[in-house]
Symmetry: C2
DNA sequence: CTGTTAGCGCCTTCAT
DNA sequence: ATGAAGGCGCTAACAG
């Protein structure tokens, strides 16, 4: 790393000062077009690359943002990162990825370490096990943060999400319109507003249609897959619902297994509609209806707002959009 | 960012020199256990976080690696990143993500910019449109690089891949054993060893079973989805194969559409086996057989080797493993 | 428009 | 075992 070309090299070569070189490289208005061209040409010729560490140390700008998510191998989040990366690229920003694996302690460790000045801003989708929000409240005071998809109610920051309430409401209505009389709900993310909103949507849809609401029809998500399977089996055999709303993709699979085992045909005997973001939806079993979130757009939107904050551009709180989710009906497709 | 706690703050507070603090923080042997403890305690109390830019500028260590991949919203790559991130986390390394979107120029821009010293090492999965490898040859001379999954033949670097030849060979044999007499091949990644290996596996399997090999049975991947659809339709109607090997997941979907349109039943009329890494395989149409690569393990393995290089630990070339892919048979499953 | 100067926060000789 | 001093490469003030 010794023979590296630096501003000094360029300055010496062109017989000008390093300050001039630096300003030319940064396209400063104080430098003549002629000098800029000379510097830029030589820089390209010598393959000069600005040392980001030195630049950052001096200017406190890292050109880097962090994305903290529960899990990258998840269609929603990988699509969201795709959107984030696209926006970051346009601004020549770099993107750091951190997975919490739904672990709140890991989340805290990440946010703490990001206070070192490694990044200019942070995009976060909250871990489902997070119950104490103090570290977030401290965080948003110290560094620009935008929450996306998985947010918490009580925090003063930009949040970009789907309209979870409406999505669940619509999904439930969809089942009712298709003749369901007894609709169960598979409940997850209970400590996040995401989860609460979806539950409310389901409950209100039932209420508005004068449908029975029964706690027995609600199954809570458990970490162990096996338990979910057992609970769903229990639900289906004892309550005999004719419709199910699954609030996360992870619930869909055990549903299938139980139906197969009980020789129930989907959607004839039991109609299921699940929140899901599989990007190859057409490969899905045609019997599954899905509520698909606009993951890519959420990523773009969240990154866009983060950059607006970084640019210190003022915006009204009500400019922050609440995106709608698309309800995809697939029951009629026949493969 | 002014009131930030630095080594200076710690030094002043403890009435010792900056140098001593720095050494204590780096666990230098020259510092007494007593002093170390005092420094560490205060650092924790004051939530001191080392400034990575300053540290990097001085020490040339970034504790950061870059991952360059074609597309993040792809099950294989998101699982691979998962594996990479896990290994990086253990070493307290940060992970930067770059998507090429299969564009060779973007790839070159990334590799060039990473020469600035932003990262200690790079993990790359090559873009399918890359035909000139000069930038890679230059790159590997200047910075530690490990290639994974999508590699190029002629380059002197560690490469971690599935055994693409064997995977395709086994998949083809699988169809032959299930009675196929005329097997077509959907060919992609033709400029990467990945693509070549898979094709060879298919061809050799046919050869070893004295099956006809016909160029008419091979369809080349096109960027426009519509063309693939047309080409597959053309293949199926004119050649009437009874088996198809799809070398990438993107080919599976148009296959389905064509079959549906022609009222062909899978796998009764046509057996299809596709390379695919959908992580919710059970949700797939039960008629599809898949070759699934151990994406997570490849990510771990690749990252592991990169760190071995960074540690300057010597290893034999033949320590580099060639991982086998798993062949998942799903035709018999009935939902 | 260009140059001089002074650090950003940290690590690393070299002294003590 | 501890401290003093210099500098990594760059940018921000301030002069000219």
């Amino acid at each position: 790393m010794k023979g590296n070309v630096t501003v000094k090299t360029l300055a010496k070569e062109l017989n000008i000062s390093i300050a001039t070189v630096s300003k030319a490289l940064n396209d400063s208005y104080e430098i003549s077009a002629d000098t800029k061209r000379k510097v830029l040409d030589l820089a390209k010729k010598l393959k000069y690359e600005r040392n980001p560490a030195a630049s950052n140390l001096r200017s406190h700008k890292t050109k880097t943002i962090a994305v903290i998510i529960p899990e990258i191998a998840n269609n929603f989040f990988s699509l969201a990162i795709n959107g984030i990366e696209e926006i970051a690229r346009k601004r020549d920003y770099h993107v750091l990825i951190y997975q919490t694996h739904e672990n709140s302690e890991t989340e805290i460790a990440f946010t703490d370490s990001l206070l070192s000045g490694r990044v200019d801003g942070i995009l976060i989708s909250v871990s489902s096990s997070t119950e104490n929000y103090e570290h977030f409240k401290e965080l948003v005071k110290k560094i620009p943060v935008v929450f996306f998809d998985r947010t918490i109610e009580d925090i003063d920051a930009v949040k970009i999400t789907t309209d979870d309430y409406e999505s669940a409401y619509n999904a439930t209505c969809h089942l009712i319109e298709n003749g369901c009389k007894k609709i169960a709900y598979l409940f997850a993310l209970n400590n996040l507003s995401t989860g609460q909103q979806r539950l409310s949507g389901y409950q209100d849809a039932l209420k508005h249609h004068q449908m029975p609401m029964d706690h027995e029809l609600i199954v809570n998500y458990e970490k162990e897959e096996e338990k979910n399977y057992q609970n769903i089996r229990q639900l289906i055999t004892s309550q005999k619902p004719d419709g199910i709303i699954s609030s996360i993709e992870e619930f869909a699979l055990p549903c299938y297994y139980v139906c197969r085992e009980l020789h129930l045909s989907i959607p004839k005997d039991l109609k299921i509609i699940s929140f899901s973001n599989l990007n190859t939806a057409a490969l899905l079993s045609p019997s599954l209806s899905t509520v698909t979130q606009p993951a890519f757009e959420i990523g773009r939107e969240a990154a866009g707002f983060l950059f607006r904050i970084l640019d210190k551009k003022h915006f009204d709180p009500d400019e922050i959009p609440t995106l709608k989710s698309a309800l995809i009906k697939r029951e009629s497709s026949s493969l």
